[in-house]
Amino acid sequence: MRSIPNLIASTALGAALALGMAGPAAAQKIVISNWDAYMPPDLLENFTKETGIQTELAVHATNEEIMGKLTASGGQGFDVVFVTAPFAEALHKQGFLAEIDEAKIPNLKNLYEEARKLDYDPGNTYSVPYSWGTTGLCYRSDLVKTEPNSWMDLLKPSDDLKGKVTMLATDRWLLGAGLLALGKSVNSTSQADIDAAKALLIEAKTNLLAYDDTTFYSKLVSGEAHLVHAWDGWCNYGIAENPAIKYVVPKEGSDLFVDTMVVLASSQNQEAAHKFIDYVLRPEVGQWVASNILYKVPNRAAMESLDAAVLQQFPNLAMKPADLLKFEELRDLGAAQKIYTRAVTEITSAQ
């Protein structure tokens, strides 16, 4: 499927040259796909002002959507895409991604050392980290009897929490909770591990209020739920509404997720795409993301310039990179994806 867009790219380039159009520097335009409101609202405008490169922003709601769109179109139509690490890895292994040219992104130096040697892409050869974080428990400290500190507090809740807990339903994180509770790897491809996690999660379903990937923090604020399975950044949205909401990484650990920027191999504007990534890695951009989106960014310069009040209000923003790296990164599962999808289908359809 990939050869078609490449063919188009080369034909288009050929045609452009044949018509004697100006070189790639003039009227360049890059198309970026990102989650809505995941970068400063004036970023693109400022970027264009400074570089003369035109931009077009597409927004996706989920990783899954943009993956589907890229696969169906062969990557055609996009230059830079924001996706979570395991998806970037899958895109790379399928040959969709361009190599990152370190020389063209001097601001890579702003990243923490730890962010330059992540397992899924050591040396940032095809992806550049944008934000990162953990998955854990988000709860109403004023409503729970004892502060939770284990995945079992979620999976086998005490009587007062029964029917007042929610879990993420996205397959990697749902199974991840079970695997971590059992002390297994979040990337385990062993059928026995996955079966054990599945059994635990089916049992946990009876005490669940709902599976919720999007509005769990609002359920905490309303008091409908008292303890939810959450990404740290999203828990912060709850904390912003109600200071009694707290976040904890369970003692058995968490996964480390990384949202990354990648350049499509089919892009005809790879120069400009690299310039864009370099621009995003500026400290002031990272600082805006951390203090407005409330996600940790792997940008040392940005994190060091964060307002102390922000760190105090949202303690999980202050987690050190060294601590984050203790958790296992989510990896693409390859052929084992089938086992995961099936296990999740069995869990969510269990009555």
Binding site: W35, A61, S73, G74, Y237
Partner: protein
């Protein structure tokens, strides 16, 4: 006496149905005036979401795009679908035709979405609002044809033949004979098509191009899921409801005036 009571019961039922349909809409309207961003508590009356909306050009753009897509796909699908329904009903029923007309309804949205994007990419077609319209017409044809067909069951085709015998052209016959008889069905079909198109998200997402020029309103809202759907969206819905409602009332007054004249 008896007729009066059953008519009363029917109207009561219709009233309850309207209550059911508009209940959540009232909640949505109320939330658009709520100061808080989360729908968890009432924290005071405020126009802040309307002010935010007034400044949010990308939402205006998205609403405009949705209206364009919905009108275009409704017009095309209603025209083609009505003709198709007439063609199908004029002949003997055929399971093959039935099957073709059921297919767009049964095919899971995601399959149609991926299929069309792959297909458009193969044809190297530029994506934009036009490709969303192409896609929406696909499922709308089926729904339009299905509604119009119910209207054409028991249709007395001899009227059409009589008109032709009297020398009327096929078009005149359609305009003066067939269309007036089936019009309520065509209207219902168009309403249905418009409603389906206005709310459709997944197929639009896949068949759209990049950028605000081809982003529809549902696409905007779904993209907001990760960082919170703000009550600005409730404000949009409130305005849409208000405007449509007023249009209905105005149309009603005009029709009433015409009837009395």
């Amino acid at each position: 006496m008896r007729r009066g009571r059953s008519a009363g019961l029917l109207n009561l039922h219709l009233g309850l149905v309207f209550l059911f349909l508009y209940g959540p809409i009232l909640v949505l309207v109320a939330l658009s005036f709520n100061r808080a961003g989360l729908p968890t508590a009432w924290t005071g009356f405020s126009f802040r979401w309307y002010e935010a909306l007034a400044r949010n050009a990308s939402i205006h753009h998205a609403v405009g795009n949705t209206i364009i897509v919905a009108f275009a796909s409704t017009l095309i699908a209603t025209a083609i679908g009505t003709l198709l329904a007439i063609g199908v009903e004029r002949g003997r029923g055929s399971p093959a035709l039935d099957a073709i007309l059921f297919a767009p309804m049964i095919i899971p949205d995601i399959v149609l979405a991926i299929a069309l994007l792959s297909f458009f990419s193969m044809l190297k077609m530029t994506l934009g609002l036009h490709s969303i319209v192409l896609a929406h017409v696909v499922f709308n044809i089926a729904f339009v044809a299905a509604v119009v067909r119910t209207r054409l069951k028991h249709f007395d085709w001899s009227v059409v033949e009589a008109s032709a015998d009297l020398g009327a052209s096929a078009f005149t016959t359609f305009r003066l004979v067939t269309l007036p008889i089936i019009f309520p069905g065509v209207l219902a079909a168009a309403l249905l098509a418009f409603t389906l198109s206005v709310d459709e998200f997944i197929i639009a997402y896949f068949t759209s191009g990049a950028g605000p020029a081809s982003t529809t309103f549902p696409m905007r809202i779904y993209s907001m899921i990760r960082f919170g759907v703000t009550p600005e969206i409730n404000a949009v819905a409130t305005i849409v409801m208000g405007v449509s409602f007023s249009l209905v009332l105005v149309a009603q007054r005009l029709l009433g005036a015409r009837d009395r004249a």
